[in-house]
């Protein structure tokens, strides 16, 4: 490998990147948009869910509870006269669930409180209860409804109990985070997505472009070696990815106050391996496709979708069918998401970081080997 050749090729690549507005766009503007969307647009704490509330009780407590639901920011409450009315509105899609406060709710509640105050046990047959019905067609929202509604109920019970806190202890199990936590959780996934797009997408285009324009034909007829071509493609895009990452992390920390608990050392270690893997995937796609359109579709299919679906970024891998779990193992994004999430939220857990780095290194090795086999100094 000659240094002059590599240097000449790298400087060519850098000039091309600097003159091509689209690579700057992908490396810096796209991450901003992705983080912006995840920061503000996608919030997994859903608010203003349309709910029906049917109050069949006439006691004061049911009214207090109704007020509490109505004032909640999670719900947009419509008071329905009968259960049937409410049901109809759910069926027509106007509401996503029903909260039913049954008859004699206040009475039972008072009895319960009385018993508690007099140290009697609440009988199993008569606990004060409300019914929550939610539209199961959107399971995600349904589970939020269940969580929020029962959370509010629990809080109400607790507040009544405050006067005599020792009598009834209600365990507050509101296990949905407050709004600010979503971006913390998603940051890892967003960074992974950004890096795989910058790494894979840009490099997938770059070799295909050379084939399309015929420059690759001229290049391979000169005395350059395959390694010189590969190295000179990896280095500039590696540096570009690093810049893009620094930019994205700073943006996330400054704008969204995302925590970062880990060390720079651990971050650089796992990141550099992941970037290498991304770039190699891009180069392999590019050498296979030799056509910018096909290459870009290919890059989207192997990076964007698996990163979004199968990396544990949005959907929990453990709750997927077994065969899908097996499939997720081969996508590098999974390991990077796990490492970055750990680094952001927990800190340097070396067990996880080293394991992921090792797996990614193995992938890089395999990819490098297959790229060397694929990229020949041959026009076919």
């Amino acid at each position: 490998m000659k240094m002059t050749t590599v240097r000449a090729l790298i400087s060519k690549e850098v000039k091309q990147i600097r003159r091509d507005a689209s690579s700057i766009l992908v490396a810096f503007i796209m991450p901003m948009l992705v983080l912006f969307v995840f920061g503000y647009g996608i919030s997994f704490n859903i608010e203003n869910i349309k709910m029906e509330l049917v109050n069949l009780d006439s006691g004061t407590m049911s009214h207090e509870l109704t007020d509490l639901y109505a004032s909640s920011k999670y719900f947009n409450i419509n008071l329905a006269a009968t259960t049937k009315d409410a049901q109809k509105r759910v069926e027509s899609g106007e509401a996503q669930g029903i909260i039913i406060i049954p008859e004699h709710f206040s009475k039972k509640f008072m009895q319960g409180l009385y018993r508690m105050r007099t140290n009697q046990m609440i009988t199993r047959n008569h606990p004060p209860e409300i019914q929550i019905i939610s539209d199961g067609t959107d399971p995600n929202t349904a589970s939020y409804i269940e969580g929020y509604a029962s959370g509010i109920f629990s809080k109400y019970c607790a507040s009544l109990n405050k006067t005599k806190p020792q009598i009834l202890s209600i365990n507050d199990r509101l296990w949905f985070n407050s709004t600010t936590d979503t971006i913390n959780f998603l940051m890892a996934g967003a960074l992974t997505m950004i890096l795989s797009i910058v790494g894979t997408f840009l490099t997938a285009l770059v070799v295909a472009k050379e084939w399309e324009r015929g420059t690759m034909e001229a290049l391979i007829a000169t005395p350059v070696s395959i390694w010189e071509i590969i190295i000179s493609k990896i280095i500039p895009y590696f540096v570009l990815c690093i810049f893009s990452l620094i930019f994205s992390i700073s943006y996330g920390i400054l704008v969204f106050q995302v925590p970062f608990e880990g060390s720079i050392l651990a971050l650089s270690l796992v990141t550099s391996v992941f970037i290498t893997v991304s770039i190699l995937i891009g180069l392999i796609i590019s050498t296979t496709a030799k056509d910018q359109f096909v290459a870009s579709m290919g890059a989207m299919t192997v990076t964007f979708l698996p990163t979004f679906m199968l990396s544990g970024f949005v959907f929990e891998i453990k709750s997927m069918p077994f065969w899908l779990q097996c499939l997720s193992v081969i996508f590098p994004a999974k390991y990077y998401v796990s490492s970055i999430r750990t680094l952001c939220l927990v800190g340097d857990v070396w067990d996880i970081i080293l394991r992921d780095t090792l797996i990614l290194s193995g992938m890089a090795g395999i990819l490098m080997f297959s790229l060397k086999k694929k990229l020949k100094k041959n026009i076919e």
Partner: protein
Amino acid sequence: MISIDNITKTFNEAKIVALDGVSCKIKSNKVVGFIGPDGSGKTTLLRIVAGILTPDSGDVVINGRQLCFSEKVDSHEKHQLSIAQLQEMTSYMPQRFGLYEDLSIIENLDLYANLHNIDKTIKEEVFTRVLAITKLSQFRTRLAGNLSGGMKQKLGLACALLKKPKILILDEPSVGVDPISRKDLIMMVNSMLDEHTTVLWSTAYLDEAEELDHVILLNEGKIIFEGSPTEAKRCVSNRVYVFTDIQEKRRFTAELTKEEGVMDSIIHGNKIRFLKKQETEIESIHQNMIRKFYGILPPLGIPPTFEDACIDMLGGIVEKESPLDKYFHSTFYDPNDDGDDLVDAMHLTKKFGNFVAVDDISFSIKRGQIFGLLGPNGSGKSTTFRMLCGLLRQTSGTARIAGIDISNIKSDVKVMIGYMAQKFSLYPILSVRQNLEFFSGAYRIRGREKKDAINQMLEIFHLSNFQNMNASVLSLGYKQRLSLACSIMHRPRVLFLDEPTSGVDPITRREFWMHINTMVHHGMSVVVTTHFMDEAENCDEIALIYKGKIRASSTPDALKQRCKNKETATLEQAFMEVIREVDEVSP
């Protein structure tokens, strides 16, 4: 010496045999021309010699060392040559010049200098020399993408010539380049190389090949001739004649072509040039023609060109008569009606920002005439052409077809024109029939008429056997026929041809012009741009556009009169003369 031994190459995806047992010997320190139509295997052969394509079988031996295409080779073996060693001694310029369009001229040169390991100390000196020869010195920092076609080719060649290679491989460096830049390219190769370089030069221009010492003619993956052009011309000596002072040249050439003993006939200004069969007596041809055209003079013998030889080797024209005659016979044209001008360009001007691409151009074309737009790359001829057929909106001025403004989108003016683009604008994944159906719909032919037109086109252009094949798998000659069929099936009054025959073999080109001449005979007007001078000879009038203005406009014969050697002048010389005059006044 490069010895090519029984090379075969098949491309699996298209099931095309690109090279079929090709063997030849190329002597050292010579310029060898590879000629042949597109798809004849030129590019494949050159790529194999450049070491970037592996043949299925056969050997390449360079100076006694066998080229090893496998990467694992012991380069110390004396009788073997590795790809790396080959590439140290060769320079290769691919057909689509391998320039980085987003790098400047000097950055491109610098990159290739480094790739070819040119010593740092002499780099600057080499660049200065190269830029001086290519006349690109003043554009050092201009991006390669912003250069004209001719300049790009010069820069591409300059990159290949930076080191003095032992073997220089040039794949159609002159394709789509005007005659002046073409001469520059040849001059560059001659001036920058010494006698220790072997040059493999492929070209579609037969006049260019004629200048070389040794040519190899390929057709359908086989070598059909190898030797010097002089040697090739010997076979056709005393077989090329001209009829002079012909009035009805189109009808005359059509009749002459029908003659049994005529292998080829073309219009050459006011003359008709033809090639006769070896065994046919010239006197019998003259007698036959006198019967049809009273009082014509006996034909004069003239020296043959290499193109005549190639036509002879390819077997001459097969189709003696254009069936389009019948298709256009019953159309609205009345041959006796002189009528008004069919095409009128009045003060056409086109500006791109501050740059005036076309500056106040006016001309008119009569019915039944062929009008040629000639000019170097970047002169403004394509812009003029596009404004005429309504593809580009002019900044000022008007273009009229049969009296109707072409920019009037409400009128049916677009149905009156046919357009055949340079790169055949067919839909590659539609079948031949589907392409015809689409274009007939686009030109508003409907119902029974449509079915009729399609069937006739399939028959006339011999496309019936391929009608269900995708257009992409047709050979270039058939693609060109289909393309022509699509643009004329609606019987347009004006036909626009943008470099219609580049890359096509001479026989197909003859047939193409036979069709055009037939339609023109029936009253169609044709506007054509071309870099082939023999095609320009076919025109009734030529406008030479240079630097955005018409610099000369008259018949081919009158143009030639401008040159000093009036009798022997070629159109190409006239062309250069005009450009020289313009450059002297305003360099």
